[in-house]
């Protein structure tokens, strides 16, 4: 993200980003807690509040910009990413955030999604994944679990769902994190990491749609199973999880395996240590694809790889061209090359 700092902004708080009007999500919608976590993160960016822009598409999740007191653009269904790209390229000093849904980003907006990631523009994407079309009242989305009965799949879906992290890596994505609406602490940590990443940062937030897809994430949010069913990955730390903190991930050939520390001679030192910065994304790809029941679901920053950023490179090319060219104004161009003067 943009690093513009401004001393006068150091005292910003979440309140500075709260809008006055009513928030129009259903009571109990998972989006509320995501909103507060975002509002709590923004003051920590060290960015002037007028330098922040939220862009969205259409969907319940895409109403987000109305509830964050920054510059905001509620775009068209699926088109948040190219709109945001235009904003960022026009003014790379801005901190640009996209908020999108699973339908907005991966159904109609799928193409823009993969292209933004591969271009590695310095934009933060918050993908609120409720695995359903919320705003249009309950049709299946590209992330709806196989076989689900929804309003448009009365006999069960016959589509293999996308996994956002897997797709992101297939599209050369440099940053991928996953978190969940029920864990504000983790959300704040992850959002801040995403904001700090230079390049396209995709954060998938598992979000509950209480009306049309209630409890789709319950296997990982229910208190009693949560700790056994998820692993919060942190760069540099061993991949340990579980209620008793006694389970870990190891490699078995090129497959991951869950082991129990203390059993079969396994010690803490045998457990894989998470390296989010590794350029080769093979392990990140494996981690992002882990699924219940065999594996815990990976949360936290799974990949954060630094590489060339589109908007930085464009600025450099422009600067270089300006520096090296004798053509400084349009008049110079118009009067260069094959010209004839008469009269």
């Amino acid at each position: 993200m943009s690093t513009t700092t401004d001393n006068t902004t150091q005292e910003l708080t979440a309140k500075d980003f709260k809008t006055d009007g009513p928030v129009k999500w259903c009571a109990g919608c998972g989006s509320y807690s995501i909103l507060s976590s975002v509002n709590a993160t923004l003051p920590k960016l060290g960015v002037r509040k007028e330098d922040i822009v939220f862009v969205s598409g259409i969907g319940c999740s895409s109403r987000f910009p109305y509830y964050v007191k920054t510059y905001g653009f509620h775009g068209l269904h699926g088109r948040a990413m190219p709109i945001a790209s235009g904003v960022k390229l026009a003014n790379p000093e801005l901190s640009v955030w996209v908020v999108t849904g699973d339908g907005d980003s991966m159904a109609i907006g799928g193409n823009h999604f993969i292209h933004l990631l591969r271009r590695n523009m310095d934009i933060n994407i918050l993908l609120l994944n409720n695995k359903i079309y919320g705003l249009t009242k309950g049709q299946y989305s590209p992330t709806t679990p196989f076989g689900s009965k929804t309003k448009t799949s009365p006999d069960g879906t016959i589509e293999h769902p996308f996994k956002p992290g897997e797709l992101a890596m297939g599209a050369e994505g440099t940053f991928y994190a996953r978190t969940i609406d029920t864990d504000p602490k983790m959300m704040k940590e992850v959002f801040l990491e995403a904001a700090k990443h230079k390049g396209a940062a995709l954060t998938e937030v598992l979000q509950n749609c209480i009306i049309f897809n209630n409890k789709v994430h319950q296997e990982i949010t229910d208190k009693d199973v949560k700790e056994d069913n998820t692993i919060y990955l942190k760069h540099g730390e061993p991949m340990i999880f579980g209620k008793e903190n006694d389970k870990g991930l190891v490699l078995d050939g090129i497959k991951l395996k869950v082991v129990k520390i203390g059993e079969n001679g396994i010690t803490k030192d045998d457990i894989l240590v998470h390296d989010a910065h590794e350029p080769d994304d093979t392990l990140h790809y494996m981690l992002a694809r882990m699924a219940l029941p065999e594996f815990p679901l990976a949360l936290g920053v799974i990949r954060a790889h630094k590489t060339a950023v589109y908007d930085h490179m464009l600025e450099e090319q422009v600067e270089l061209a300006k520096e090296h060219s004798k053509v400084k104004k349009l008049n110079d161009l118009l009067n260069s090359g094959e010209i004839v003067k008469k009269g």
Binding site: K49, E50, Y66, P82, L320, K329, N331, K342, G343
Partner: protein, 613 residues
């Protein structure tokens, strides 16, 4: 230069170069154009190439052509029928013969006129002997053989690529051009390839000397030079469009951002601007047309001058987002370089059939400004004006050009950017406590441009209906009606800021008024002006502004007995006129052949109407 020859002065001449895609006819055409500009001629050119990248050699589908019209008087089109045709093979001859005037000169590469080539071209008989060429002056030059023998040292594939210079050489002689200029062109083009320069120059000279010794060329010609004064250059419509957009950026102080996806015949605008980073231009080659326009809208929101360029199918894809620009009332220029439709249609052929799409091709009541450019050089001015309107009135503008303008070129009087009008967008001031996103300028009805990064103006916009002044989302019934009317009225008020519709001819009215718009200007103007010289009561209203109409449009139309609307489509502008000025009776003349108007066709039609009582 041999002085045993007679030199005849010509007012103007039309030359068509035609050959296989690989024969370098575009190159020769450009070389001859450049030289002509330097010689002080006025000119207009038009390339005409197949839609396949390289269609099969020797076939009609594979013929690539380049027409150039050079003269001393004002040249407004690349010309109807050629005075000189260069045909590198039988297919080139067969495809173009109907475009050569009676008595015209045809230079052929006799080496390619054999049965094998006849068959490929679809000739059943030998056209040189079956009377096909009666009435033309045929010059049979062994171009291939002579070329090869002038550059024996080269391998024969490379040698053949210089054939076009043999043609150039012949024409340099025929039109009394300075050979040095041709050489200069070669040195420039092959800057880092001295061997190529040398070979090409050898062939150029060979062609020249061949012509010099050729009896057929006992008469040579000199084209009188133009009387225009000022600085001039040869410019294509697409380059002029690119530069006009840059002019709007420079005069507004808003950096130019182009979000675009390549499509024939609009791609060159993107290509041209992608090399203008030195002037601060940013181009973004998007993944598709929708991303192109969406990024331009985003850039406009962030304070850049957002532009997107495309052709018909791409304009279709941009429909939804164009509506977003209408609703968010941001500046945006959409350039549509029209081509033959529907669907993929005739991708390399010009047509004026996107007009109704430009006017109406969006959901809901979704008014935009629609303008058109008249000539290749005028694309510069039209693009500048489109940018000025978009930024000063906070509105999307669709600028219609077409494949004929885009690829065609003309001698262009270089404007002085410093003396062009400034563009003053209504930029909102930091910390303006009264700022409201949909507060409007009472005169123009434009809202203000509050640019992210500005202190004290944080706000949110989007595609849902907005409350008057506050800009909050609103589903209120009466508010919607008010906003629909504001958006329309804002566009209509632009009529207060554009010139009245000029009449060329009888400004006080008369018998026949020809109405046209866009890229047909050159042909229509020439036809009308030639008839006027013959004393006919005919005038022309060529529309640059389509929506809104110039304020005096009704008055202009009311002054004439007959109105004839000419278009390269099935009658789109005429129906639009009927809807808005139903009180008049409109005749129409339409051509839907993927070809520009010929001046003679227009004159025939106009004469017919002039004679009707």
């Amino acid at each position: 230069m041999s002085d045993k020859n007679k030199v005849v002065e010509l007012e103007d001449v039309i030359i068509k170069f035609a050959g296989d895609s690989g024969d370098g006819m575009q190159f020769t055409g450009n070389q001859f154009s450049d030289t002509s500009v330097n010689a002080g001629n006025d000119l207009a050119t038009f390339p005409d190439y197949p839609s396949e990248v390289r269609a099969p050699q020797g076939t009609i589908a594979g013929v690539s052509g380049f027409q150039i019209h050079i003269g001393g008087k004002d040249i407004h089109t690349s010309g109807d029928l050629a005075d000189v045709l260069v045909a590198m093979n039988p297919a080139a001859l067969r495809k173009n013969l109907k475009w050569v005037r009676e008595g015209g000169t045809i230079i052929i590469d006799i080496d390619n006129f054999d049965n094998k080539h006849y068959k490929k071209a679809g000739y059943e008989e030998d056209p040189l002997n079956d009377g096909t060429l009666k009435g033309y002056k045929i010059i049979k030059a062994p171009i291939t053989t002579m070329t090869k023998s002038s550059v024996k040292e080269l391998d024969s594939k490379v040698a053949l690529k210089t054939k076009n210079q043999f043609v150039s050489g012949m024409l340099y002689f025929l039109f009394n051009r300075e050979l040095e200029q041709g050489k200069q062109f070669l040195r420039q083009k092959f800057k880092n390839k001295p061997k190529l320069v040398e070979a090409n120059i050898d062939v150029l000279e060979a062609g020249y000397h061949y012509a010099e010794t050729l009896e057929a060329f006992e008469t040579t010609y000199r084209i009188i030079s133009a009387e225009k004064t000022g600085s001039f250059r040869n410019i294509t419509g697409n380059v002029a469009t690119a530069w006009g957009l840059m002019a709007a950026a420079e005069k507004s102080g808003r950096p130019l951002f182009l979000g675009s996806y390549p499509i024939t015949p609009a791609t060159e605008i993107l290509q041209e601007l992608s090399s203008k980073k030195n002037l601060g231009v940013k181009t973004f080659q998007a993944e598709d047309e929708i991303a192109g326009i969406s990024s331009a809208i985003g850039a406009s929101f962030a304070g850049n001058f957002g532009v997107t360029t495309t052709s018909g199918p791409g304009l279709s894809l941009k429909s939804e987002a164009a509506g977003l620009a209408v609703m968010t009332e941001l500046p945006l220029v959409i350039v549509d370089v029209q081509r033959g439709g529907p669907a993929t249609g005739l991708p390399t052929k010009p047509e004026q059939s996107d007009l109704l799409q430009a006017l109406y091709g969006r959901n809901g009541e979704s008014p935009v400004v629609v303008m058109s450019a008249a000539t290749p050089g005028d694309c510069f001015h039209a693009a500048f004006k489109a940018g000025k309107i978009a930024m000063e009135h906070m509105v999307p503008v669709i600028l219609l050009t077409d494949g004929y303008l885009a690829n065609g070129s003309e001698l262009w009087n270089i404007p002085d950017v410093d003396s062009m009008p400034n563009i003053k967008p209504p930029i909102a001031k930091a910390n303006d406590e009264d700022y409201a996103p949909y507060r409007r300028n009472p005169e123009t009805l434009a809202r203000e441009w509050a640019i992210p990064g500005t202190e004290g103006l944080r706000h949110r916009i989007g595609g849902l209906e907005k409350e008057d002044v506050s800009g909050e989302v609103s589903h209120d019934a009466l508010n919607h009606e008010i906003m629909v009317k504001y958006r329309e009225e804002k566009v209509q008020r632009i009529a207060n800021y554009i010139p009245e519709q000029p009449i060329y001819g009888n400004e006080d009215g008369g018998d026949v008024l020809v109405v046209s718009w866009g890229g047909t200007y050159g042909a229509v103007y020439t036809a009308v002006s030639e008839l006027r010289k013959q004393g006919k009561d005919i005038s022309l209203a060529h529309f640059e502004y389509i929506k809104p109409f110039p304020k005096n449009t009704r008055e202009v139309l009311s002054k004439f007995n007959k109105i004839i609307v000419t278009e390269i489509n099935n009658g789109q502008f005429v129906n639009y006129l009927r809807a808005h000025f139903p009180e008049f009776n409109y005749l129409q003349y339409n051509k839907i052949q993927g070809l520009p108007f010929m001046i003679y066709e227009l004159k025939d039609k106009f004469n017919e109407i002039l004679e009707e009582k």
